[in-house]
């Protein structure tokens, strides 16, 4: 595995004055491990449908001061009503145009480490976790204190623009303390012509807390996008995740959920829309570590042209996790003969009193349905839009905050049209 470009960039990073040297041992340790494992190849079971060679063939540079905006940036085109927004531009936090609602604490990475007795929660589930730890740049840590119901959603808007071949490694921590709730939106946008974004998110839900997490991946179709989402849930917590993806050339979402406490519940919903030669991969692992936990996965893809997709959904029920309920559903709509979907629904059950289901269906648009619409006077192009929207609508029902849902609906409508 040729990591020479990354080695060069790593040396540059260590010399950066504005990165705290306290973090260096952690970064070095992660990078050393990464040098041993290398990036995944298609020989790795969980990566066999996703080609990552572009990550080593290209030389991605760490984001420099010159990659930060030179003038004030206009974010009006990304406006969502009733949402507070934190802006990160090419890996640089834009304090002037960022705001957060009352009741939520925003910490920098170093403040967060201090708060956690110099222990940083990180993970080594894949080499991309290691890469993120080694290179993490824009750190955003949000803390929702005990018994706080945050009415206003918080969004992190990641804007990636420009022609430089850059790499960003955002790191997000989200701690929701007991009895609290938050709607958290992350939106990835921009026109970057060569970007590698390797994001890591750590979400911790204490007892009786709740998060609506909406991830909008609408970055440029030249982006290589990896996200690793780590969620740990205490008892009676609820985590609702919705991911909308129409951006990226190659994208892989690694989603790891640990249902650690009894009655913890998660709902994972993804909608991927791809065209051209886009490749969108969703890899989900839900661990039922405690009894009486619930999970559901609903993952839908619509594929045009030569685009490809992967659904790898794995639900693991630990030995003593009795009386759990787990459901998995993957549905895919192929709108061209050369589009391709790989679907791998998996259940691993080591307990004996559980309720589980899984299913996967891939098909084309129903000719009978198309004709039915036409026979009622609806022109074929309009019928097509109605049917694709109909396929999508089931997964959209999972977004609760209206203006965020409208925002995504608009994206869908312009994508289909």
């Amino acid at each position: 595995m040729n990591l020479i470009n990354y080695q060069n960039e790593f040396q540059k990073l260590l010399e950066r004055k504005y990165f705290s040297s306290e973090m260096h041992p952690l970064r070095k340790d992660a990078f050393t491990k990464l040098e041993t494992t290398g990036f995944p190849t298609q020989k790795w079971e969980n990566w066999r449908f996703t080609n990552l060679s572009a990550l080593t063939d290209n030389h991605f540079l760490i984001s420099e001061v010159k990659d930060a905006p030179q003038n004030s940036i206009d974010t009006s085109q990304y406006e969502i009503e009733g949402v507070e927004t934190i802006v990160i531009y090419n890996g640089h936090f834009q304090k002037d145009i960022s705001s957060i609602p009352d009741g939520i604490e925003l910490l920098t990475g170093s403040e967060y480490i201090e708060r956690n007795n110099n222990e940083l929660i990180h993970s080594e589930k894949s080499p991309f976790d290691l890469l993120n730890t080694a290179f993490m740049d824009s750190g955003v840590c949000l803390i929702v204190g005990k018994n706080t119901i945050a009415q206003t959603p918080v969004r992190i808007l990641f804007i990636s623009n420009g022609d430089n071949s850059i790499m960003v490694n955002p790191r997000v921590y989200l701690d929701v303390e007991s009895g609290s709730s938050l709607t958290f939106v992350e939106e990835h946008v921009g026109d970057a012509t060569a970007l590698f974004q390797n994001e890591a998110i750590y979400i911790s839900l204490e007892e009786n807390s709740e998060i609506e997490h909406i991830r909008i991946q609408s970055n440029s179709v030249n982006t290589h996008n990896i996200v690793s989402l780590h969620v740990s849930q205490c008892s009676n917590s609820r985590y609702n995740f919705f991911q909308y993806a129409d951006g990226s050339k190659m994208a892989r979402s690694n989603i790891y959920i640990d249902l650690d406490g009894e009655n913890a519940e998660c709902s994972i919903n993804c909608l991927s829309l791809s065209r051209g030669t886009q490749h969108l991969d969703n890899s989900i692992t839900v661990n039922h570590n405690s009894p009486h936990t619930h999970s559901s996965q609903l993952v839908k893809s619509v594929l045009f042209d030569n685009s490809t997709g992967v659904f790898n959904g794995r639900t693991v029920v630990k030995k003593d996790a009795q009386k759990i309920e787990a459901h998995q559903s993957n549905k895919n709509l192929l709108l061209s003969k050369s589009a391709k979907m790989n679907s791998i629904p998996q259940l691993e059950i080591y307990a004996d009193d559980v309720k589980c289901s899984h299913g996967s269906a891939t098909g084309q648009l129903d000719d009978d349905a198309l004709f039915y619409f036409q026979s009622r006077g609806i022109p074929k192009a309009e019928a097509f839009v109605l049917l694709v929207s109909g396929f999508i609508s089931e997964v959209m029902e999972n977004i609760k905050f209206v203006t965020v849902k409208d925002h995504i609906d608009q994206k869908i409508n312009s994508w289909i049209a």
Binding site: D366, D367, D368, A369, F371, Y372, F373, Q374, S375, R376, G377, I378, P379, K380, E382, L386, L387, S389, G390, F391, I392, S393, E394
Partner: protein, 244 residues
Amino acid sequence: MLEIKNLHAKVEEKEILKGVSLSVKPGELHVIMGPNGAGKSTLANVLAGRDKFEVTKGEIQFNGEPLIDMLPEHRAGEGMFLSFQYPVAIPGVNNMYFLKAAVNAVRKYRGEDELDAVTFLKMIREKLKVVELDDSFIHRPVNEGFSGGEKKRNEILQMISLEPKLAILDETDSGLDIDALRIIAEGINNYRNKDRAFILITHYQRMLNYMKPDFIHVLMDGKIVKSGPKELAHELEEKGYSWI
């Protein structure tokens, strides 16, 4: 209104219609009966413009216009309506949204103003009463989880909303209980007028107890082999098709 001359059609290389001729004038109700596999549904689908049925010979005129090369959505705009034998379920598409899209597409084709949401809802509520369905019905996905009777009533609801000139009802009476049959027959009867024609495809005489057809046609092996007045239906019911 409709002139079919020597119509031949095939599906997947198999010839189904082998020379059908039929003339329908405004205000008339024609009934087509015949054994399974005779080509009744094929005829209905060819008229509605289903492209998997290929017309190989013959001609069709609808309101003086050649029909064969016309798009299905334009046929609907011109006033053709097919009530499907097996209406397809469409999960995720709200019935009202579908009906509104259909009504407005047809209105647009006919050069009429599209209906706004309020006017449409008022109109559709009136039509729902005719087919004896409540409001909740239009908020469900199209035909999804509908009973056999509900699907057929939904077809009639679409028919009376789209106001066609010619309605072809393909076994709309199959699989219905007596009440649903009455509702549908009444819906059709109330909807008959001097400008509007119907073609009813059926296996049974029972629907005809509720209505007054002008002609009965027997379709066998891809051809109309016998035509006659209403009494012919009784005869067919008693004797079957073998005597023809």
